[in-house]
C-alpha cells in the first residue's frame, strides 16, 4: 500500500547522491559532474554536433565553464582528453548501477509488502464466506433471504473499499524520503494486526468447531469489511486531512542569493514538510543563476587578498611565555595586529563601495540599452510573419511554412540582439539556441505578441520552466538536528542541501487567534451637524 521509495526512471541522477555519507568523494564528484554535464554531451554524441548551451559561441562557453568553477575546484581541471572523460563516465555509470540496484530493492520490497497486504485484506472476507462451503457443506444451514442480502452488501462494500484504496494509495510516488513514512507504517501494522486477529477468531471458533450457522458467518465477514472501511477512513484522516489546516508558517531562504518565500504548512513531519517545500520551490523560486554572484565573489576575494601583516619588530612569541608580563605583551601584540588589519580593511572598504555604485549604474544602463535594441529587433522580426487563412492556403502552396520553419526563418534577425541581451544579464547558459527556436515556434503557433515571446527572457522564471539541465538538483539532502520523522515545531530549523546551494527553512507557529464579537445595531448610526463645539470649563 505504500511506495514511498525512490523515483523511477531517473537512475542517472539518483546515483549522484548515494554517496552522501562519503563526503570527500561527494564534493569531488560534484565538481567533476559539473564539468561533465557541459562536456559529457560532447563526449557522448560523436556524430551529430552537440547541443550548444550558448548561441553558437563555443569559445565563450569554454571560458564561462572555467569561470564558474574557478573559485571552487580543488583539483586542476586541465583540458582533459576525450578518453579520460569517458573513463570517468564509465566509473560513474557502474556506480550508478550498483546504487540503483540498492534503491530498486528497497522499492520493490515495499511494493511487494503492500501487494501482499492488499491481497490479504481483500481475500479474507471472501475466504470467510467460501471456506465453510468447502469444508463442511453438508452440515451447513442453507442461506436464507437475509443472509443472501448480506452477500450483496459484502460485494458492494468490497468494491467501495477497492476503489477507495486505489484512490488513496495507488498513486505514482512523488519522491523518495529518507525515512519510513510513520503513519503509513502504523496503518499497515494496524491492518495486519486486525486481519490476523479476525483470522485467529475465525480459525478457533468457526473452523475448529465447524459452526453450522452460516448467517452468523456471513455477518462476521460483513463486520470485517465494515471495520476495514473504518480503517480506511482513519487512513484518510491521518494521511490527507490532518495536514490541511495550516499551523506553521515556514520561511524558506536560498543561501546563494537570499530569495525568500513564505509558506503555510499544516502539522507534518519534517521530511514531509521538506517535500512540500521543495515542490513549492520548483514553482516559485526563480532559477538559481550562479553567474549573478560572480561580482560579489570577486569583491570578497579582493578584500581578502589586499591585506598582509608584516611584523617589523621581531619574531612572533610562539612559545608560551613565562610570567604574566610576557603573556600580556604577547596578547597585546596579537590584538594590535588584528586591530590594525581591521582598521586598514575599514579604510579600504570606502573606495570599493564607490566602485560598486558606479558599476551597478553602468550595468543598469547597459542592460536597458540592450533591452531596447532587443525589443525593436523582435518586433520587427514578428512583422515578417503572417498567419495564412484557410482559403489562401489552397491558393498559394509555394511559400507555405509550418511553425518550426517560420521560427527558423525569422530567428536570425533577432538572434544577435537576443544573444547580447542574455550575455549582459548573464542568462546565456539558461537558454540554448534550440530551446529559443522552440519557444519562438510555440509563440507563433499560438498567436502571441513579441512582448509575450520576450517575457520569458526578460525575467528569470521558476526552475521548472527551463530545460532538464537545470533540474540537476533533483537530489536533495535533508539536514536536521531533530529526527526527520518528528513533527514540525515552533522554531525548528532544517536545511535542504543540493549540489549548488542550500535552502534554509525556519518555522514559526501561527498564533492562536482569539476573536470576540461586537454587535452594532444598524439603527445606531446617527449623526449631528457639529456647528459649535461646547467645552466645559
Amino acid at each position: 500500500m505504500d511506495t514511498e521509495s525512490t523515483y523511477s526512471g531517473y537512475s542517472y541522477y539518483s546515483g549522484r547522491s548515494r554517496g552522501s555519507h562519503r563526503h570527500g568523494e561527494r564534493s569531488r564528484d560534484r565538481h567533476k559532474t559539473r564539468n561533465k554535464d557541459s562536456r559529457s554531451e560532447k563526449s557522448v554524441t560523436i556524430n551529430t554536433p552537440p547541443a550548444e548551451p550558448l548561441l553558437g559561441d563555443s569559445a565563450v562557453r569554454g571560458e564561462q565553464v572555467q569561470d564558474d568553477n574557478w573559485g571552487e575546484t580543488t583539483t586542476a581541471v586541465t583540458g582533459t582528453s576525450e578518453h579520460s572523460l569517458s573513463q570517468e563516465d564509465i566509473v560513474r555509470i557502474t556506480k550508478d548501477l550498483e546504487d540503483s540496484v540498492g534503491l530498486d530493492c528497497r522499492r520493490y520490497f515495499t511494493l511487494a509488502l503492500a501487494v501482499i497486504l492488499g491481497l490479504l485484506v481483500f481475500l479474507t472476507p471472501l475466504a470467510f464466506l467460501v471456506l465453510p462451503h468447502l469444508l463442511w457443506p453438508e452440515k451447513l444451514q442453507s442461506c436464507g433471504t437475509a443472509c443472501e442480502g448480506l452477500f450483496i452488501s459484502v460485494a458492494f462494500k468490497l468494491l467501495i473499499l477497492l476503489l477507495a484504496v486505489w484512490a488513496l494509495f495507488f498513486r505514482p510516488p512523488r519522491a523518495g524520503l529518507p525515512r519510513v513514512f510513520v503513519f503509513r507504517a502504523l496503518l499497515a501494522v494496524l491492518v495486519l494486526l486486525f486481519v490476523v486477529s479476525y483470522w485467529l477468531f475465525y480459525g478457533v471458533r468457526i473452523l475448529d468447531s465447524q459452526d453450522e450457522n452460516y448467517q452468523g458467518i456471513v455477518q462476521y465477514a460483513v463486520s470485517l469489511v465494515d471495520a476495514l472501511l473504518f480503517i480506511h477512513y482513519l487512513a484518510i484522516v491521518l494521511l490527507e486531512l490532518r495536514q490541511l489546516q495550516p499551523c506553521f508558517s515556514v520561511c524558506v531562504t536560498r543561501s546563494t542569493d537570499g530569495e525568500i518565500r513564505h509558506y503555510n504548512l499544516g502539522q507534518l513531519s519534517i521530511q514531509r514538510a521538506a517535500l512540500a517545500i521543495l515542490e513549492h520551490y520548483y514553482c516559485d523560486f526563480p532559477v538559481n543563476n550562479p553567474a549573478l554572484l560572480s561580482a560579489s565573489k570577486s569583491r570578497a576575494a579582493k578584500h581578502l587578498a589586499g591585506l598582509k601583516v608584516y611584523n617589523v619588530d621581531g619574531e612572533f612569541p610562539a612559545a608560551p611565555a613565562e610570567g604574566p608580563g610576557n603573556n600580556a605583551a604577547a596578547a597585546g601584540l596579537v590584538h594590535s595586529q588584528s586591530r590594525a588589519m581591521i582598521a586598514a580593511a575599514a579604510r579600504r572598504r570606502d573606495t570599493s563601495h564607490n566602485e560598486l555604485y558606479y558599476e551597478e549604474a553602468e550595468h543598469e544602463r547597459r542592460v536597458r540599452k540592450r533591452k531596447a535594441r532587443l525589443v525593436v529587433a523582435v518586433e520587427e522580426a514578428f512583422t515578417h510573419i503572417k498567419r495564412m487563412q484557410e482559403e489562401e492556403q489552397k491558393k498559394a502552396p509555394g511559400d507555405v511554412m509550418d511553425p518550426r520553419e517560420a521560427a527558423q526563418a525569422i530567428f536570425p534577425s533577432m538572434a544577435r540582439a537576443l544573444q547580447k541581451y542574455l550575455r549582459t544579464t548573464k542568462q546565456q547558459h539558461c537558454h540554448s539556441m534550440e530551446s529559443i527556436q522552440q519557444h519562438l515556434a510555440f509563440c507563433i503557433t499560438n498567436n502571441m505578441t513579441p512582448k509575450a515571446f520576450l517575457e520569458s527572457y526578460l525575467t528569470p522564471g521558476p526552475t521548472l520552466q527551463y530545460s532538464r539541465d537545470h533540474w540537476r538538483a533533483r537530489q536533495w539532502t535533508l539536514i536536521s538536528e531533530a529526527s526527520v520523522t518528528s513533527g514540525l515545531k515552533d522554531g525548528s530549523i532544517f536545511l535542504l542541501k543540493c549540489v549548488d546551494f542550500s535552502l534554509v527553512v525556519t518555522t514559526k507557529k501561527i498564533p492562536y487567534i482569539q476573536m470576540s464579537e461586537e454587535y452594532i445595531d444598524p439603527k445606531s448610526h446617527k449623526f449631528v451637524l457639529r456647528l459649535q463645539s461646547e467645552t466645559s470649563v
Binding site: 456647528l531 459649535q532 463645539s533 461646547e534 467645552t535 466645559s536 470649563v537
Partner: protein
C-alpha cells in the same frame, strides 16, 4: 439694547478643579463666547453665572475676537478668574 455688564470673581481652590460651566462659540463661528451650561452646585452657579451670559473679559484679556480654543486655554492658565458677564 445693551445689557449691564457684571463682574464675577471665581477663585479656584485646586488647579484641576473645574469652574463648573461650559462655553460655546468663538470667532471662527462669528460669535462671541457664551455660557451654555452651568453645572448645578458648582462655583459658577454660586457666583450667579447663568446660561446665555456672554463672557466679555477674563483677567483683563478681552474676549472680543477669540477663537474657541484660545478661550479654553485661558481657563487653564489662571487660578482665579474675573469674568465680566452680560
Amino acid at each position: 439694547m445693551s445689557y449691564p455688564i457684571r463682574q464675577v470673581t471665581m477663585k479656584r481652590h485646586k488647579s484641576n478643579e473645574g469652574l463648573g460651566f461650559s462655553i460655546r462659540g468663538g470667532s471662527e463661528h462669528g460669535v462671541g463666547i457664551y455660557v451654555s451650561l452651568v453645572e448645578p452646585g458648582s462655583l459658577a452657579e454660586k457666583q450667579g453665572l447663568r446660561i446665555g451670559d456672554q463672557i466679555m473679559k477674563v483677567n483683563d484679556k478681552v474676549f472680543d475676537k477669540v477663537t474657541h480654543a484660545e478661550a479654553v486655554k485661558v481657563r487653564d492658565l489662571v487660578r482665579s478668574l474675573v469674568l465680566s458677564a452680560l
